[in-house]
């Protein structure tokens, strides 16, 4: 064999990954081979691959179970690490870890987005001294992720398990996309849980995609297939710049499609009646541009990327259709992370407010709703991107604050004519302030008295009074909201401010 033939022969073997039986069992689970995943992800293949020959003296460990390199997504170079689960279940040896570290360091140097295609059983216990505890051990992967966070977008596509320490890769990404049925995250497997704490539980219950995307919030996006996961990631990245120094690319604007009902038709006048906030969002963004994050988690608050006249915008909106749009611990967490994500990558923020306040009661107090709420306020307060607050209907109590109320330096606070801004709603306020008087009145006079007091209260918090006091910057016709946003965001784009000088805040986490 000539040396060229030897090279080609070695490459052919390595490119095939692990043994046929593992390819077959993956195929049965609907899992694609790692190189196929990358082919779908990149515009035209991976242009640079590094350490292809890692561990090549061991025939059983082609590329040491991970592919790393650079290719283009939406015509933008991105760095990738992708586990090969046909090689020792995608487990990490010394060279696997070193390869991951190097591609992260490349992403850091070149300030390129970092994509993690995760499908790994975790550490190779037999190699633990070489890959676990040291300076270039697996812990360094997380250290690098934390360093990269906010510098470049970090995306995790979870195709299989992400076990024990490995579960921190998704945890430190900006977004985790999970394939239903195959993706899982857990610190201890069900088998370990049974042995160590006596709990009997299935893998799906313990750390399945549905659980993480709807209950724990560790997952962000639930998809059915690997192709769907990859397409979501490609679309998601199109809203982002390559790094924190640049702004997102504008795309061709798409108009709002024609709707039978206008915004004024869909927002009920009765503050207590629910409506579907998605209907309002659809009426202000470019058609088909909504890329929702954490759709199934804390659905009382909607977070997602969208485009208005071709420009990226991050939307945080209360959803009156779910739990009355009240803010809970999980909704506050969800908002805090999304706000940080957008601010890190220069994506302007739009708050659509219709909030009765933060939830009250023993349950949420015990969960620490005050510190969770503080987290949301803190994240929202610190942003330096353009920030517009729109009071759609009510904005009561700390709900007004959390949704970027006037005190938190929005570039403007707009209100619909039916907006109500107050410490609390008329019903609650009259009950609280007039409780003694109501109790003293004869039964038959109470309703009329309450009604009269509520009317007085509503007059007191009338939107034009707030406009007159310049609490809000404009009262607008709801049906002109999109144009208003276009005008304002295009001007506020020039914003260039620093929040404050310090090392970092002491966050209320």
């Amino acid at each position: 064999m000539s040396y060229l033939e030897e090279l080609q022969e070695r490459m052919r073997k390595i490119e095939k990954g692990g043994k046929d039986k593992y390819h077959k069992s993956n195929e049965e689970k609907g899992k694609l081979f790692v190189r196929k995943r990358l082919e779908i992800l990149f515009d035209s293949g991976m242009n640079i691959e590094d350490a292809f020959f890692a561990n090549c003296l061991d025939d059983d460990l082609p590329s040491d179970g991970v592919v790393t390199g650079i290719g283009k997504v939406n015509n933008q170079d991105v760095c990738v690490m992708a586990n090969d689960s046909t090689v020792k279940a995608g487990s990490w040896g010394k060279r696997t870890v070193e390869k991951i570290l190097r591609i992260q360091e490349t992403a850091m140097k070149l300030e390129l987005p970092m994509i993690y295609l995760v499908d790994s059983a975790g550490a190779r216990i037999t190699d633990q001294i070489e890959m676990f505890p040291g300076r270039r051990g697996a812990g360094r992967i997380f250290h690098n992720q934390i360093k990269l966070s906010g510098r470049v977008p970090q995306v995790c596509l979870l195709f299989g398990p992400s076990a024990a320490g490995g579960a921190y890769i998704p945890a430190f990404c900006d977004i985790v996309i999970m394939v239903d049925g195959n993706a899982s995250m857990y610190l201890g497997s069900p088998r370990m849980a049974e042995k160590v704490i006596g709990e009997k539980v299935s893998l799906e219950e313990m750390g399945g995609a549905v659980m993480h995307c709807s209950v724990s919030g560790v997952g962000d996006v639930l998809v059915k297939t690997e192709e769907e996961a990859i397409h979501y990631a490609q679309n998601y990245l199109s809203y982002f710049p390559a790094n924190f120094r640049s702004k997102p690319n504008n795309v061709e604007a798409k108009p709002v499609p024609a709707f039978e009902k206008s915004i004024t038709d869909i927002v009920p006048e009765n503050q207590n009646a629910p409506f579907n906030m998605y209907d309002l969002i659809d009426r202000i963004i470019d058609e088909g541009s909504f890329c929702e994050i954490k759709k199934k988690f804390a659905a009382e608050l909607i977070t997602g990327l969208a485009r208005i006249e071709g420009s990226s915008v991050g939307i945080i909106a209360n959803q009156p259709r779910v739990k009355g749009g009240v803010l809970f611990t999980d909704s506050a967490d969800k908002a805090a992370k999304f706000i940080q994500l957008c601010d890190a990558f220069n994506i302007p923020l739009l708050f659509l407010t219709d909030v009765p306040g933060f939830m009250i009661g023993t349950k949420v107090e015990r969960q620490g709703i005050i510190r969770h709420g503080a987290k949301m306020l803190s994240a929202m307060s610190e942003v330096t991107v353009p920030k517009i607050s729109v009071i759609v209907r009510k904005a009561y109590g700390a709900g007004l604050y959390a949704m970027s109320g006037p005190a938190f330096d929005p570039d403007c606070c707009l209100a619909f004519p039916n907006a109500q801004i107050a410490v609390m709603g008329p019903e609650a306020a009259v009950n609280a302030v007039e409780a003694n008087k109501i109790a003293q009145l004869p039964e038959e006079d109470r309703a009329a008295f309450i009604k009269q007091k509520q009317d007085e209260y509503k007059e007191n918090i009338d939107v034009y009074r707030l406009a007159s006091e310049m609490v809000i910057d404009a009262v607008i016709d709801p049906n002109t909201l999109r144009q208003e946003l276009v005008n304002r965001f295009s001007v506020y784009a020039a914003k260039n401010v620093t929040f404050t000088e310090r090392k970092h805040g002491v966050y209320p986490v």
């Binding site: 207590n272 749009g325 009661g361 709603g425």
Partner: protein, 70 residues
């Protein structure tokens, strides 16, 4: 069988279906009143209402079963 559960603490304001009634996925079963808001609680799957576990005016906690659908 599907249990329709309260999504948050509140009072049962209106029960909008009757036992024996055929309901569709996404159809409102009960409307709670909480934080001065109407909170519709919908069926997660289609079926027939087998049992109503609450009456109008009852206080319910997060996760309490409101109705059973078969």
């Amino acid at each position: 069988m599907q249990e329709v559960k309260a999504s948050m603490a509140g009072n049962v304001w209106k029960i909008v279906v009757a036992v024996g009634e055929q309901v569709e996925e996404g159809q409102d079963i009960v409307i709670l009143e909480s934080m001065k808001m109407e909170i519709p609680i919908a069926a997660e799957a289609s079926g027939v209402v087998k049992e109503l576990k609450v009456a109008e005016g009852d206080f319910v906690n997060d996760e309490d079963v409101l109705a059973v659908i078969e």
